[in-house]
Symmetry: C2
Amino acid sequence: MNRWLDELFELLRFPSISTDSRNKDDVQACAEWLAARMKSAGLESKIHPTPGHPVVIGRNKHEAGRLNVVVYGHYDVQPVDPLELWDTPPFDPVEKDGKIWARGATDNKGQFFAHLCGITETIEESGKLPVNLTMLLEGEEEIGSPSLRPFLEEHREDLACDVIVVSDTGMVAKGVPTLGYGLRGIACCEIAVSGPARDLHSGVYGGAVANPATAVAQLVASLHDGEGRVAVEGFYNDVVPLEDWEREMWGAVPGMTPDDVLGVTGSPSLSGEQGYSSAERLWARPTAEVNGIWGGYQGEGSKTVLPAEAFAKLSFRLVPNQDPAKVMEKVIAHLERHCPPGVKIAVDPGHDGQPYHTDPHSAFSKAAQAALKKTFGADPVLIREGGSIPIIQDFKEVLGADTLLLGLALPDCQIHSPNENFTIENFEGGIRLNRVLFEELAGC
Amino acid sequence: MNRWLDELFELLRFPSISTDSRNKDDVQACAEWLAARMKSAGLESKIHPTPGHPVVIGRNKHEAGRLNVVVYGHYDVQPVDPLELWDTPPFDPVEKDGKIWARGATDNKGQFFAHLCGITETIEESGKLPVNLTMLLEGEEEIGSPSLRPFLEEHREDLACDVIVVSDTGMVAKGVPTLGYGLRGIACCEIAVSGPARDLHSGVYGGAVANPATAVAQLVASLHDGEGRVAVEGFYNDVVPLEDWEREMWGAVPGMTPDDVLGVTGSPSLSGEQGYSSAERLWARPTAEVNGIWGGYQGEGSKTVLPAEAFAKLSFRLVPNQDPAKVMEKVIAHLERHCPPGVKIAVDPGHDGQPYHTDPHSAFSKAAQAALKKTFGADPVLIREGGSIPIIQDFKEVLGADTLLLGLALPDCQIHSPNENFTIENFEGGIRLNRVLFEELAGC
C-alpha cells in the first residue's frame, strides 16, 4: 500500500484544474505522468490531443474471445477557491485520520487510480488481465467533457466494448458497497419576462401596468401544486413508477434517513413530493427547480423601481422514460399558458440530457454486485443517483454499452469544496474491487 | 421674460448633484447664488448649514394679520448619467423648440424659480407681496431630504404658516392646469428566505429539500389574487373608497386614457385591480410591488445550484386611511402564514410614509383652483398622485399645514432621465401663477 499511496500523492500534486487556462501545462503534465504510469504497469498508453485537454488511453494486449471492458476516469479537478478554507494546501496531499486530504483525492484521481493500482497488481502477479481493458482518462470532466463525445465517435471501433466501469459516484455510507444503476436526466431553460419599455417608478406607475418581477414569481409558483408535485400538464405521463423492491431496498439504505438528509443539507425540514421518501424523491422522481431568479434592484436599502424585465433559470431533473425534448415542449406550453396579462415571456431552452437506467439484475450487474460483496464483505445496495452524468448516456449511445457505477465517494468527502478527502479504506477497497471485478466480469 | 430666462440659465449651470460628494462645492455655490438672488428681489435671505447640504430661506417683511405662506422647492438635481444619451450637455442649458433643455430644468429649478420670478415681479411692481412669504429651498430632495425634518422641527416657529405651496409634481397634459390633493403612502420591506446551510447541487438534493428561490416566488405570488387585488388579509380594511366626483373627473382627465398609459410606459397591455381605470388604480388604490427579487445563479449559461437563500424587496403603496405600520404587520403575518415548508423567512421592514390627502374643496384649494384657471384659461383638474413625497406629510405633521401641489411638470419632461426639459410656456405660466395665487390666497 505504501507504494500506491506514494504514487497517488504524486498524482494529486498536479494542479490539473481544467477550467483555468493558467493550469493548461499542469493538466498536460498530469496526462503525461498517467501515460508513463500506465506504460510502467505494462499497458500500451497513448496521449490523444483534443481541442481542449488530452484524453489518455491505456490498453492491455486484447485477445479474441475475451470480454472488452472500458474503465473511465477523469484526471482534471475542480478549482480550489476559497483557498483560505483549506486546512492543508490542496495540492500538497497529506494523510491524516485515515484519510488522504487533497483536491481530487476522491473526485476523481483517488477512485480511478485505485483501479489502475488493482490492474498493476493483477499484471504483476498473473502476467496478464482476465479481460481486454481500455482505460480512458479524460481531462475535461469538470468543464462538461466537451471533447469526449467527438473522441468517442472518432474512436468508436477502438473503444468497442461490452461494459463500462466508472468509479465517480457515491457509496451511500462508509462500509456499504453501492452499485448505481440509474441517473436522472435534465432539461434546462431560461425564462425572460418583459413588461414596460424601461424601469418605471413604482409609485407613479405601480398598479396600472404589470410588474415583470411579480409575473416571473407567479410563473415559478405555477410549476408546483400544493402537494409538491410538478404542475406542468402531462409532466408525469412517461414516468416509470418505482418498483416494489426499490422502495423496499431504499427504505433501508443507510445515509438516507430524514435525520441523515437534514444533517447533510442543513435544511430546516424535509420537503418534496408527497407520498415519497427522500431516497425516492431524489433517485426516482422528477423535479422542477429554480437555479436562479432575478429582476429589479438588489442593492442596499430600497429603490422603488418597477423593473422592465425579470428572469429565472429553471432545470427539470428527469427519470425514465421522460424525454428532455418532450418535457421542454410541455414546460414551454405551461409557461405560455400561465403567463399573466401585461407581460411577455420568452423561453430559451438550454442544455439537456436523457435519464440513464440500466438493469440492476443483468449478468454484468450481478457480477459487479458479487465483486462488491467479496471486496467489502457486505451485500451491496442498489441505488440510482439524483444527478446527471451526460457522458454515461454518451457511452450508451456511441458505444452501445451499459455502465456499472461503482462509487467509492463517501458523503463527507467534500468534493468540489475545501478539504476534499478520500479514506485510505476506500482507496484500498477500490484496488481490491478492481481485481475481483475483472474476474467476476470475465466469468459472465 | 428674457431677463428671467437668462437667470434660470445661470441657475441651471450649477451641477448641484446632491448624491455625489464631488459636487459638494457646486451645491454650496448654487445655494449662495440663490441667497443672493432672493436678496436682490428684496427678500431677507439666509443660508442654513445642515449635516448635509444647506437650506436657503428667503422671507419678506412679515406683517401681522396676513396669511403666512411657505413656498417650497429644491435646488439639488439628479445625476446625469448616462451622459452619452444627452443631445446637449446637461449643465449647459439651451433653448430649442420652445423648451429649456438641462438637468433640473423641470425638477425642480425651473418650477421653483418661476415662483421666485413671480415674487420678484410683484415686489418690483407693488413694492410688496400680499402675503407673509417664507421661501424654503433645500438641497437634499434627491437623496431623501435627510436634513429637512430636523430643520423643520428646529425652526418650527419661524416657519409657522397657514398653507404651503409646492410646484414639484405633474400637470396631466400641456395646457391643463392641475391641482394635486393627494399622494400615496408607502411601506417597504425586504424578505429573506433561507433553506439549506449552503448552496446544494440541484441534481443530488433537488426534490428532497425546499428550494428558497421557489419559496420566495411562491411568497411573492401569494400577494395577489386572480383579480389583481392584494391578497394580504385585511389589506383593504381602512381604504377610503373613491368618491363619485373623483371617478367622474378622472374619467375625463387628459393623458390617462389606456392608449396614453400604454404609450408612456411601453407595456404590452394594461393590468391591475379589476373594476378600476388606470387613473383610479394609480391615484386611489393601494398596491403590492416587487422592486427586486434574487437568488441563485444569474450568470451566463446554467449552473445547477439549489440556492441556500433567496430575497425580495417589496413595497406597498398606500392610500387614505391605510397606516403603514398596521399594513406592515398584516404583510408580515401573511408572509409567515404563506411560508412554504422547508424554509425559514425573515422580514425586515424598511422605510415608510403616510398617504397624504387634503380636501380639494377647502378655501385654500378653491383659491388655488381660481388662480390656475386665471393663469391657464381652463378649468383645473383635481388629481392625486401615485408616488409618495414624504416631506409633504412632514410639513403636515411638524407645521400643521396643508400643501397645495401645483405641478408644472409635463409628461414628456424627462425628469431623472437624459434630455430633461421644461417648456417656456410653463415657466412663464408658473411666473403668472405665482402672482395670481398670492392674491387669491390672500383673499381667503
